[in-house]
Symmetry: C2
Subunit: 334 residues, 2 copies
Amino acid sequence: MKSYNLAILGATGAVGRQMLRCLEERNFPVGEIRLLASAKSAGAKLGFRGAQIEVREADADAFDGLDIVLGAVQAPLALRFAPAIAASGAVFIDNSSAFRLSDGVPLVVPEINPEDAFSHQGVIASPNCSTTIALVAVSAVNRISPIRAMYASTYQAVSGAGAPGVTELEAQTRAAAFGCEIKPEVFRYQIIQNIIPQIGCFEGEGYTSEEMKMQRESRKIAHLPELLVNCTCVRVPVLRSHSISMTVVTENPVSPSEAREAIANAPGCALADDPANYVYPMPLPASDQDLVYVGRIRRDLANPNGLALWCSGDQLRKGAATNTVQIAELLIAG
Amino acid sequence: MKSYNLAILGATGAVGRQMLRCLEERNFPVGEIRLLASAKSAGAKLGFRGAQIEVREADADAFDGLDIVLGAVQAPLALRFAPAIAASGAVFIDNSSAFRLSDGVPLVVPEINPEDAFSHQGVIASPNCSTTIALVAVSAVNRISPIRAMYASTYQAVSGAGAPGVTELEAQTRAAAFGCEIKPEVFRYQIIQNIIPQIGCFEGEGYTSEEMKMQRESRKIAHLPELLVNCTCVRVPVLRSHSISMTVVTENPVSPSEAREAIANAPGCALADDPANYVYPMPLPASDQDLVYVGRIRRDLANPNGLALWCSGDQLRKGAATNTVQIAELLIAG
């Protein structure tokens, strides 16, 4: 079996570490694995298939001989290293927002638009975490009747802000338990016992960058250039897994039972919709696995073509690391 | 100045205690104050205007000589004591759901429909907490152009489940900090570092009782019998104050700046809408005061007649105790 030389760019962050775990769990045919990070993380060691792999500094020469680079860094670093990756001939599967909306860069959720991956010109982008989770949840509905509009209010975990977000909530949990002073550092305001209705930067019109991603990226992934999205992104004191309260308005009405059946059979989805037995998605049970849980499926009382639902998914896995590794799997299978 | 003999039915609960504080803070002209609760709480003492008032058991004779009874018990107990309150001649201002939708019982938010209070036949109801907070936030918009539909996703504090809800989140915070086992008792599932998309019981069509209140009670309070409400109610690990992500669809378009000006001038509202300076409503600063904070006001990207916004308000105060005391103030002024 052919094997591939891979690098993880940003290997020591929350998403990078998860990528390494995904490669191991999914038995990705790895030849060499190169763990790249900033100079300050160089020398650290991360376990992979029983070995301890030393992290090395990401520099222009770091990509020679690679087949695939998985990007787990923020957009500025992805932009900085993209030319060196291109020069090495490796395909760059990037989890940052740097290239998601660029022409010629496929934006791929393998359960939704796998075929797009093959038109890449060296870079493939993995979408925003909330967008991926929302779209996996509703793509089965979109296949029954095209989605015209989407209302989404998110309940996003602190790990969406990376490992420091997790550390901050844990520290504030201890501070709250002991009655100590709580000093926000990663988040602008206290996050324990509070919620913050801002993720990303404010753009024109009062929407944040995170909220606009839901519209812009969904349009590209789902091939729905006219899709209208009204999104509110909110940080909640949850360690892991984002949840989303959604209403989708379809071209023709889709009944809750039709939607339920389609979602139960949709790749990447698990139906968790048995309210009589208190079964609905929640972030805690959705964490540390790859499925998006969908439940609370019911008709929209405000629109005959609307369908309300609720979903939870692990944004470090399906919302980031797993999706990126799945794109790599598509490439090597294709 | 005339004074009034008042009882608080359910005085030792989270809402009852808050009612006592509200009466004190607002200098309500109290003659006698009678604190009524279950036999098990009888004998406890609560402070009021420097005195310690003994709690007595609520029984059929407990209401003699009263002018007003403020109800802070659940619906079954409100139903049980209503005949005795009626027999005593006192007006029953009830915070439970028992009478809210009954004919002849006004359902009142003093900032919205004060005139309704005067048509009472002995009972006046105070609405569901989330409904009150949502309607105070958007009633200024409704005055510009009638609201046709409302999309609401709530982020509700544990104190909505009363004092035991607060105790449970505090206990689970300590358990999480110490790494101890977390045993849910008040809530069906762990609430620390989790969220639960169920408040109330499931009714037909997959909506909960709490979600349907937003439609049924809003219709009655706002005199909008055709109002359509699509609501998702979610419990979050916040001690106090509910937040709501809302979109309202009005008969004619209302611009964000029109809405902002109207909300800034609306009674009971505080505008907190300066995203450039990170100003938006959050539950922590909204707690322990009576205003509903409204922000994140922007156009609905999915509907030209829609307006998106975000609000936070203390559900024990404006969502319950304060609203009930304000209704009493209306009555004695009227």
